[in-house]
Amino acid sequence: MASCKCEQNLESQYQELQKVFDKYRTVQGALIPLLQEAQEIFGYLPGDVMKKISREIGVPFSKTFGVATFYSQFHLKPRGRNIIRLCQGTACHVRGAAKVFEAVSNDLGVDRNETTEDRRYTLETVACLGACGLAPVMMVNDDTHGRLTPDKAIAEIKKYD
């Protein structure tokens, strides 16, 4: 997960997007990879960016919006610097993932899919991280943390600025 690049100015972000267009010019089915790369650059998918992508590859804007809202990976609003993804898989569920979620949610003062006011954290849930042997599990950015208790989860999260 790319960290937020809000400090970078918009112009250089658009320049980067232009380079991505060049890369995908001859690729079939480029819409989803383009949205993925654009989200890496901008941190989320602003409407203008989706519109630009649509024009660039000749796809109706309505379709681009439809695709972006279908997949849970895409975000139409800015997100936090650190993405917390708590696993809700079966194994985690039976080993108390709900309590971990509740504790983290209370501690950060945000609910599912919300971002803290200081943009430090976005709290999400994920269906299954595939690390069931370590249940309950969460990912913070690209790091997996397992065998969580509510307290341990909160302590781990605090390590991310």
């Binding site: 079939q28 089915g29 480029a30 819409l31 989803i32 990879p33 949205l35 993925q36 796809v59 379709k63 439809g66 695709v67 279908f70 997949y71 849970s72 990976q73 895409f74 809700q88 898989g89 079966t90 194994a91 569920h93 039976v94 309590k99 994920v126 269906a127 299954c128 991280l129 595939g130 690390a131 069931c132 042997g133 370590l134 249940a135 599990v137 690209d142 790091d143 997996t144 943390h145 397992g146």
Partner: protein, 650 residues
């Protein structure tokens, strides 16, 4: 010559532009085009560095860097080990190999010392110095780090003697945890690409398909369609262009075998796809990997780059005129894309909404071209079939389900992890022998197999031989092979609700029964769990389940009522207890629980009263406390904190 795959001398001309037919064979038994003892020796040395023989001075330390062990801290182990080896001047003799998932994630981080097969579990940074000094320098195994049988306390000297592995038959997982997935040379040294070479050089495409048919291999993604038959449909379909697609969108909660294969042995999947491409007449392949698997994507990228570098992928492979290219498509977060038509439409850049079949992908698939679609595990079986012959493969398994199946064993079982067994092993063997039984000696209740499309197997069916057909007959299904073990403290209504929550949020919304039906089924289940259900709800659930199953557009919708229908079939009494007695027999559903304090056990330490956020607990110091059930919010904070086990749920 640094790697086994390098040229021995200037006489060798192999490269992607000037490919040699005998490349793979040459690297292991060569040189072939010329006779030179020095060259031969170089090859043998490179091979023996990979395959250490028992008693060898050299050692190979395998450290698992699968997702499980990485999150338990295995990356740090590598650093510490490197330092320690340097300190002892052992870096020449001892190699560190980072491997993919070894399957026994519960015991991670795992470390193996080869060629001795010594198997260390839950290794911490602080243990490394001891391993180096005592084992690598001193030649004495560090016993306290060995796996110990939870019942007898007996340590296992090698991984082969660990019961978790002893009963398994690791055919697909053969390399996982034993080779460096980022080095194609190790794959080739372990018979890698030999199946592809055999197919490409010695067999016609029809013969390859015939061999796969003979093997009896069936799709490992869930439905179990015969693989050879599917390949022959694609072969026979007319089209100027055909595709081979690998479904690596493993989304079932509780299943992670595809991830482990991709992370631990990515070339096996590439080889399976190459063989398939040759057999069906395709020159392009796609691997659709879910976005949640960044490490798998990384390993695949490395594997593809290395295969291209050595001319195993590309144009005119091994100078035969066969071309094959593989591209990776990262998913964007939609479970339904594991459904084949949704996956294809997603690769094309659309919303992943399933299409109606027919036409099947074999006729009209990716961009309207004939397309062969199999999942990771299916492709990973193919190299073995080609190397050993379909007949030999068919000796494994049951009459209608051949070979092995990988299961992801999770939940309330002692040994969680990846398990590969021949088809037909009983569920009892898998859970109690390999899995080591139920955690904490609790009573087995059921195992959920096949994720949100599957069903549960109760005690009375534990001796069922596990194969495609027996599971379907028992109201479950193989699915991808997730096995979630549940004990007496698991509420089956809650389990059904859990799966419906999943399918409801992952429904694509295209067809009415799935979009609207999953929502209503979930609402009914939630009401029952909250103690607000009525007996008519059970009939409604059954009817809705039947209609959704009968009328939904795709496999996801048609199977999503299974968790409800199968729990209703085997555990209807639990539903009734929730509805009629307002009671959750397993003590899970919070609305139906009452927290109580055992007056005998309570010492009056007052901790629970302090912890209670609702102020529901009262009592004098050193006197037994009581809980006011009116005020209690059932958060469980008292129970977690009680040192005397005096608090219980009823």
């Amino acid at each position: 010559m640094k790697s086994l795959l390098d040229k021995c001398c200037e006489k060798c001309t192999h490269g992607p532009q000037t490919p040699c037919r005998d490349f793979i064979k040459c690297r292991k038994t060569g040189p072939i085009c010329h006779d030179d003892e020095a060259c031969r020796q170089k090859r043998q040395n490179a091979l023996s560095d990979i395959h250490l023989t028992k008693g060898s001075e050299k050692k190979n330390i395998l450290i698992c860097a699968g997702t499980g062990c990485t999150s338990s801290g295995s990356r740090k182990l590598v650093e510490v080990l490197q330092e320690e080896l340097q300190k002892h001047g052992l870096t020449d003799k001892i190699k560190i190999t980072i491997t993919g998932c070894h399957g026994f994630c519960e015991q991670g981080p795992l470390m193996i010392v080869e060629p001795d097969k010594t198997f260390y579990v839950r290794v911490q940074d602080s243990d490394v110095a001891e391993i180096v000094e005592q084992n690598l320098v001193g030649g004495q195994v560090v016993e306290r780090l060995l796996y110990k049988d939870p019942n007898t306390g007996e340590p296992a000297e090698t991984y082969e003697s660990v019961p978790f592995y002893a009963k398994q038959q690791r055919l697909v997982l053969h390399n996982c945890g034993h080779i460096n997935p980022e080095d194609v040379a190790e794959y080739i040294a372990n018979d890698g690409y030999a199946g592809f070479v055999k197919a490409l050089l010695d067999m016609t495409p029809e013969e390859v398909i015939e061999d796969v048919k003979k093997s009896g291999l069936r799709g490992r993604g869930g439905a179990g369609f015969p693989t050879g038959m599917k390949w022959s449909f694609v072969r026979q379909a007319t089209g100027d262009k055909k595709y081979v697609v690998c479904n690596a969108d493993e989304g079932d909660p509780g299943a992670f075998m595809d991830r482990s294969v991709l992370e631990g042995d990515p070339h096996a999947v590439l080889e399976g796809m190459l063989i398939c491409g040759y057999a069906v007449g395709a020159d392009e392949g796609y691997i659709y990997v879910r976005a949640e698997y960044p490490l798998a994507i990384e390993r695949l990228k490395i594997a593809i780059a290395q295969a291209e570098q050595y001319g195993i992928l590309g144009d005119n492979i091994f100078n035969t005129g066969f071309n094959f290219h593989i591209k990776i498509k990262a998913g964007a977060g939609a479970f339904v894309c594991g459904e084949e038509t949704a996956l294809l439409t997603s690769i094309e850049g659309n919303r992943g909404m399933p299409r109606v079949r027919p036409p099947f992908p074999a006729q009209k698939g990716l961009w309207g071209k004939p397309t062969n679609l199999n999942n990771v595990e299916t492709y990973a079986n193919v190299p073995y079939i080609l190397r050993h012959g379909g007949d030999n493969y068919a000796k494994l398994g049951t009459e209608k389900s051949k070979g092995t199946k990988i299961f992801a064993l999770t939940g309330k079982v002692n040994n969680t992890g990846l398990v590969e067994v021949p088809m037909g092993m009983t569920m009892r063997d898998i859970i109690f022998t390999i899995g080591g039984g139920i955690q904490g000696g609790k009573k087995y209740k059921a195992v959920q197999i096949g994720g949100p499309s599957g069903g549960c197997i109760p005690e009375e069916n534990l001796d069922l031989p596990v194969d495609y057909d027996s599971l379907t007959a028992a109201g479950a299904m193989m699915g991808s092979g997730g096995l979630v073990v549940m004990d007496e403290t698991t509420c089956m209504v809650d389990v059904a609700r859990f799966f419906l929550t999943f399918t409801q949020s992952e429904s694509c919304g295209k067809c009415t029964p799935c979009r609207e039906g999953t929502k209503r089924m979930l609402e009914i289940l939630t009401r029952i769990c909250d103690g607000e259900g009525n007996m008519e709800d059970l009939d409604t659930l059954e009817r809705l389940g039947r209609v959704v199953k009968n009328t939904a557009l795709c496999g996801l919708g048609q199977t999503c009522p299974n968790p409800i229908l199968s729990t209703l079939r085997y555990f209807k009494d639990e539903y009734i207890a929730h509805i009629r007695d307002k009671r959750c027999p397993a003590g899970v559903c919070p609305n139906l629980l009452v927290y109580k304090i055992d007056q005998e056990k309570c010492k009056g330490c007052t901790k629970c009263a302090k912890n209670c956020p609702a102020g529901a607990i009262t009592g004098e110091k050193k006197e037994p406390h009581t809980i006011d059930t009116e005020k209690c919010i059932k958060c469980g904070a008292c129970l977690q904190g009680c040192k005397f086990n005096a608090i219980y749920k009823a």
